[in-house]
Symmetry: C2
Subunit: 340 residues, 2 copies
Amino acid sequence: MKKKITIKTIAKELGVSTSTVSKALKDSHEIGKETKDKIQAFANYYNYKPNSLALQLRNKKTKVIGVILPKIVHHFFSTVIKGIEAVASEKGYHIMVCFSNENYKKEVETLRVLSNGSVDGLIVSIANETLENKDFNHFFELLDDDIPLVLFDRVVDDISCDKVVVDDVGAGYKATKYLIKNGCKKIALITTPNHVNVGTLRRLGYEKALIESYIKTDRSLILEINEKENIKNQIEKVFEQEIDALFAVNEIYAANSMRIAKEKGMHIPNDISIIGFTDGLISEYSSPSITTIAQHGFTMGKQAVELLIERIENKADFFTPKKIVISSDLKLRESTKTSS
Amino acid sequence: MKKKITIKTIAKELGVSTSTVSKALKDSHEIGKETKDKIQAFANYYNYKPNSLALQLRNKKTKVIGVILPKIVHHFFSTVIKGIEAVASEKGYHIMVCFSNENYKKEVETLRVLSNGSVDGLIVSIANETLENKDFNHFFELLDDDIPLVLFDRVVDDISCDKVVVDDVGAGYKATKYLIKNGCKKIALITTPNHVNVGTLRRLGYEKALIESYIKTDRSLILEINEKENIKNQIEKVFEQEIDALFAVNEIYAANSMRIAKEKGMHIPNDISIIGFTDGLISEYSSPSITTIAQHGFTMGKQAVELLIERIENKADFFTPKKIVISSDLKLRESTKTSS
DNA sequence: CAAATTTACGAAATCGGTTTCGTGTTGACA
DNA sequence: TGTCAACACGAAACCGATTTCGTAAATTTG
């Protein structure tokens, strides 16, 4: 096992002091040409790399951004990571990715560990369980410690920090409005339980569109999925009623719905129009392909990390939290009919 | 801006030495009960957390594992990450995720940066470009520096380190054999260019199965996709010939193929059987759902990180690289017919 | 030629911890 | 009452770098 080469070993080997070595490697004018050449040649030959831990400790910055996500095997979140990494690496940062697995305890624990100096800042999307029991003390502590924080997608107002969200209300509205415009009247909504606020917001948009068109909101057309049970079975209940359209707040719900519709012999989009959320591969490759709300995860990730780096590198700035709202687009495909 | 609280501040505030504080916080028997209580209460009150950089520097270990992937928005790779993270976090490690974007230069750069002490070891799946130009010096340097390394999925024999791979030959064989068994004769293969070795291996399995059944390999039935051009257009050429089955080395190729088959009015699986690779969401939710080779990414990730941690924590061990081969399964779904 | 300035380098502090070793005080025991 | 162990704590080295400051020798200047 080769011992790693440090400034100290170089110094000893060459009979100079560590300060001289350090300066020589930075091409300081303080060091004479001969000595400099000698040191640089030596360092180069032995492939010397400064220990980054030592530098981080001294500079009090790690150039690492912590990212905590509820899950990873998920098109939207992996797209966000891609966006984060793109900008981060361009600006000389690395990312440390952790997962809460939608679990409150793991989120608290991860936050605690990462806030001990190993990262310069954090980008987080809150776990469902945390949203459910509304305990955000771990975030407050983070802010107390003055650690830059950016929340995205699943955010809560009480936490005073920068945020990046999609225009969920607008998205729900856009989707529903489109369905109505094309002649749909009985529009089912497949959503998440109320504590997941993105679901709630999308639902608000849905209701807003209905109200605007004087369609009474039919409670029985709205289904809140319990993720712990079989999803398909739950959705099937909605199909017991007469519906001519369906808006699902994510891709999986949409795909399941489509499958059920097909099994029931319904023709898509003639008998029923379907709109999903998250522009993932399922929507793109299923047949018929599914019209969806594109969330622009890549953009969200980029924006989030830009906000964060700004905070990190410019802490003097007075703290007035920013909130960036990314507008979402309706991506028309084959699962929706057009009235024209 | 609150100043962070360190051992030094505690010591000063309480009129003791830093050594005393350090020991008191570790409940050392050397420190008297009163002093201990006082210090612990103080530290607790001010929510003291030891700076991890300082510890890492002293202990010469970071408890961080670097992971370098060719891409992230990809079912297989995100599943692997999930597996890595699961075991890592259970064993007290964190993961630092970086991407090469299939790019040689970025891979070299990332490897260089991560090998300066910021991680205890690395898990890597090699970029396509690197495989293409066969320049692995950056990996050799890593080994020279005695940094534990585990390669997975996209590996090369020349690099002497632990590896985790799927049984690609066996998988290709299994899929092809299954098609033959069920009466298919003209089996197309949609694969990657030859430098991507997993593609090559799967192709070997394909050819082996054909030979075993005395079917002559028809060069015109094999298509190497050029990822820089439109995938669908390329696949369409294969359909100009008469085929009754198709084996694609990934999900995207399979989904595209299915779409083309449908557009040509072929019925699946009666007119043509299709088998894909990677058991992702597309295969599961498309209709008909696609029979695929399940790669068990989660298991691969777990195995990789287990190998790595073993190396990290037990460096004395003589270096005899291990290679774990994960056997893949054929997951039967609707896109393949059965002869029965 | 003496004084002032440059040049070229080293000593030591610092970042925030841990750990070894030493030492003053106490109490027990012969 | 002298000796020795146990106790409780502090000084200082260390991890691997950077950086400020000091200084001897060489060079320039008056």
